[in-house]
């Protein structure tokens, strides 16, 4: 008999399998929830994996303090709807307590600072696993990532010494103080994520759809003119019809000029686009191996 499961259902089944392995293999996992599309899909998959029981782990949000309001509203709505606990790690608090120093200048971003807050929060709550929404198609260092990715007691990733991952046999064994990052949607592409959101009729934060926003243009992309951004003298604020293709910290999230106001339009737009989604992320442009370098020290 031919395999008749569609690719999207097969990816769904694989991700649900991975999420159940997490619940079975770890003492205290948490799901990293940013309110971005990838973590929304992971949360939806977790809901399906354990239904009719509740998701057996809390959500963890690393709050840079520079979030789009729509994302935070959405996060709070989801947490209430799913009946899960929310734990927030605050970058502002890490700055206030002197754990990290705020970057200054026009390109100041809290993106890098998140790593310290994330690792501190994992340590404080003794989480032994953090589930993330990273995908291998996003970036070349992520293409080498495992489903179950080991982190040493300093939270570091050793890309040259990763555990081999064969068949569907995941090895979550770890020593005290070490933890794992688990990526259930490793094998999904950006298109899969949107098609799945469409198929499953998942509600999305409004910021993914077209809206009017105060923006300015820098280094080939549109950025949100929010309070936390410092404009150069040559830069001017304009009002444009934009949407987010990917959501990160305000300081590194490029906005796309777009009139897409429904999921069908977004899918059309992605099918036609010739630039990767991380092409609009300033955090990846700092160097050729920016992602690998950040991941090594414990980034998402």
């Amino acid at each position: 008999m031919k395999n008749t499961l569609s690719h999207i259902r097969e990816l769904e089944a694989e991700s649900i399998y991975v999420l159940r392995e997490v619940a079975a293999q770890f003492q205290k996992p948490a799901l990293l929830f940013s309110g971005g599309k990838d973590s929304i899909v992971v949360a939806h998959l977790a809901y399906k994996a354990f239904y009719p029981a509740k998701i057996p782990f809390p959500f963890l949000h690393i709050d840079t303090g520079h979030n789009f309001k729509e994302t935070i509203d959405y996060r709070d709505m989801m947490v209430q709807k799913l009946g899960v606990n929310l734990i927030v790690g605050s970058v502002q608090e890490s700055i206030d307590t002197g754990r990290v120093r705020e970057e200054t200048g026009y390109y100041a971003s809290r993106n890098l600072l998140q790593t310290t807050t994330l690792l501190d929060t994992i340590e404080k709550h003794k989480f032994d696993c953090a589930i993330g929404g990273a995908r291998r198609d996003e970036e070349k260092a992520r293409a080498k990532e495992r489903f179950f990715s080991h982190r040493d007691e300093f939270g570091q990733w050793d890309p040259k010494n990763q555990r081999p991952e064969l068949w569907g046999l995941f090895n979550g064994h770890h020593h005290m103080g070490e933890h794992f990052r688990v990526f259930p949607i490793s094998n999904w592409t950006e298109m899969d994520v949107w098609q799945y959101i469409f198929m499953e009729k998942i509600d999305m934060p409004s910021i993914y759809f077209t809206h009017e926003r105060q923006v300015f243009f820098r280094d080939g992309q549109w950025l949100a003119a929010e309070e936390c951004m410092t404009l150069k003298p040559t830069e001017t604020v304009e009002t444009r019809q934009v949407r987010c293709r990917t959501i990160g910290d305000i300081s590194c999230t490029g906005l796309t000029l777009s009139k897409a106001d429904c999921l069908e339009d977004i899918i059309e737009e992605i099918a036609a686009t010739r630039v990767t989604e991380r092409g609009s992320r300033a955090d990846d442009k700092r160097s050729e191996t920016a992602m690998e370098d950040r991941k090594v020290v414990g980034y998402f």
Binding site: A53, K144, R163
Partner: protein, 421 residues
């Protein structure tokens, strides 16, 4: 964008293996590029990096070699996963290095794929490496082997060269039990027979590589009958689902339907499926690869590690003594005194290597007796004794219930990959 069509496409996972110069990266680059799966910013980044490293041509290998050390050394070390789709099918490529010192990476990449692409340089013909890659594909139970005879442009697109290599390949691999082998003459560099049909080889009447990948029929179903390893027990603590007790898992053989009679192993207790769930949806049936929750008619003791099988299907083996082909993955050689952690489906137990039957020379496929240990990248046959009986099938009957891994009890690293003979 045809959303309905997109959602109904199926998935093909395939692997490639190759060294620096045999055109593997060019071939993958060609597939990605001609199927419009490389984006402008990725291409720009590769062009910039190529220029910086002094390369005249755009080095498509930089698309797949993502780690700093790989880019510095110009080699593929780890398995990289690539994704592309055509209007017909979605593809996942497990791109692996080809050198013998990365056998473990090839085994890892091949463990999840349905089809293996074997690359042969038309100038060199069948080599040790060809045999090694083909052996690994057959060992890992890959149903489909596609042999791409590359660099046909350098041998004047000669049909004789192609036919000779084809015959050599069939001769040298005749003992490997390959089921479906397809030969395609290509030039990855110029694109002949990769995506578009070559005008330089009118004598070749077969299809292009991409067309083959799009249309090849993959039969993932095993001959073992229904197998459902229990991963997790779902017990909601709520008034609405007060008596709900469901077994969560992924079907790795056959199908299930409401009303089916099943046996829980290793206990042997029989029951009947009363409902099948995927999220809020209740299903009448479910097939191989689906992750579902199953409820049974009787309140019996089943937990993670147990396997549900159909009462009227072929029954699996239950034993503590298991003969395996193993690939050793770790720098620390295999030990016959260590009690390894053995992971088989969702069950874990301890295991000790009782005997090493032979070591395989994977360049010649000759067996060497009297081996004392297995070192990293070695493949051999061993006898394993486990602390509890395992419920298993032979790998050739079911890939999921016929495989296991060894975990080092001190470092917790995954150190061995076992295939049940």
């Amino acid at each position: 964008m045809d959303t309905k069509g997109y959602l109904h496409m199926d998935l093909l996972r395939f692997s490639t293996a190759g060294n620096v110069d045999d055109g593997k990266s060019t071939l993958i680059g060609r597939l990605l590029y001609d199927s419009k799966s490389i984006f402008e910013d990725q291409m720009e980044a590769v062009e910039q990096a190529s220029r910086r490293t002094g390369s005249e041509d755009v080095n498509l290998a930089l698309l797949t070699d993502g780690l700093r050390s790989e880019r510095e050394q110009g080699i593929t070390i780890d398995v990289a996963y690539r994704y592309f789709a055509t209007p017909v099918r979605k593809f996942i490529i497990a791109d692996t290095p080809g050198h013998i010192q990365y056998t473990r990476n090839m085994v890892t990449g091949a463990s999840t794929t349905d089809l293996a692409i074997i690359l042969i340089d038309a100038r060199n013909g069948v080599s040790e490496q060809t045999l090694r890659h083909t052996y690994i594909a057959s060992l890992l139970g890959i149903e489909q082997v596609t042999v791409c005879i590359n660099k046909m442009d350098i041998v004047d697109f000669s049909q004789d060269v192609f036919e000779n290599i084809k015959n050599d390949f069939l001769t040298i691999t005749k003992n490997l039990n390959l089921k479906n082998v397809k030969f395609i003459p290509v030039s990855a560099k110029y694109g002949d027979n990769v995506v578009d049909k070559s005008e330089n080889m009118p004598w070749y009447e077969g299809c292009t590589l991409l067309h083959h990948l799009e249309t090849v029929v993959i039969d993932r179903n095993s001959t073992s009958g229904m197998r459902f390893p229990v991963q997790y027990v779902v017990r909601p603590i709520s008034d609405k689902f007060h008596d709900f007790r469901g077994y969560a898992g992924r079907i790795v053989g056959g199908n299930v339907a409401k009303g089916d009679r099943v046996i829980a192993l290793p206990s042997g207790i029989k029951s009947q499926i009363t409902s099948i769930h995927l999220g809020e949806e209740e299903k009448e049936t479910a097939q191989i690869s689906e992750s579902v929750v199953i409820q049974l008619a009787d309140d019996i003791d089943i937990s993670r590690g147990d396997i549900l099988v159909a009462e009227n299907a072929p029954q699996p083996n239950i034993s503590n003594d298991i003969r395996l082909t193993i690939c050793w993955l770790n720098q620390k050689p295999m030990s016959t005194i260590t009690k390894y952690i053995i992971r088989h489906t969702s069950r874990e137990c301890l295991g000790v290597v009782k005997a090493i039957n032979h070591l395989m020379d994977i360049n010649t496929l000759e067996k060497r007796e009297n081996a004392e240990t297995l070192k990293m990248n070695d493949i051999g046959s061993i006898n394993l004794r486990t602390s509890v009986p395992l419920v298993f099938d032979h790998y050739s009957e079911n890939r999921a219930t016929g495989c296991l891994i060894f975990i080092d009890p001190d470092t917790f690293e995954t150190v061995g990959a076992g295939i049940i003979e």
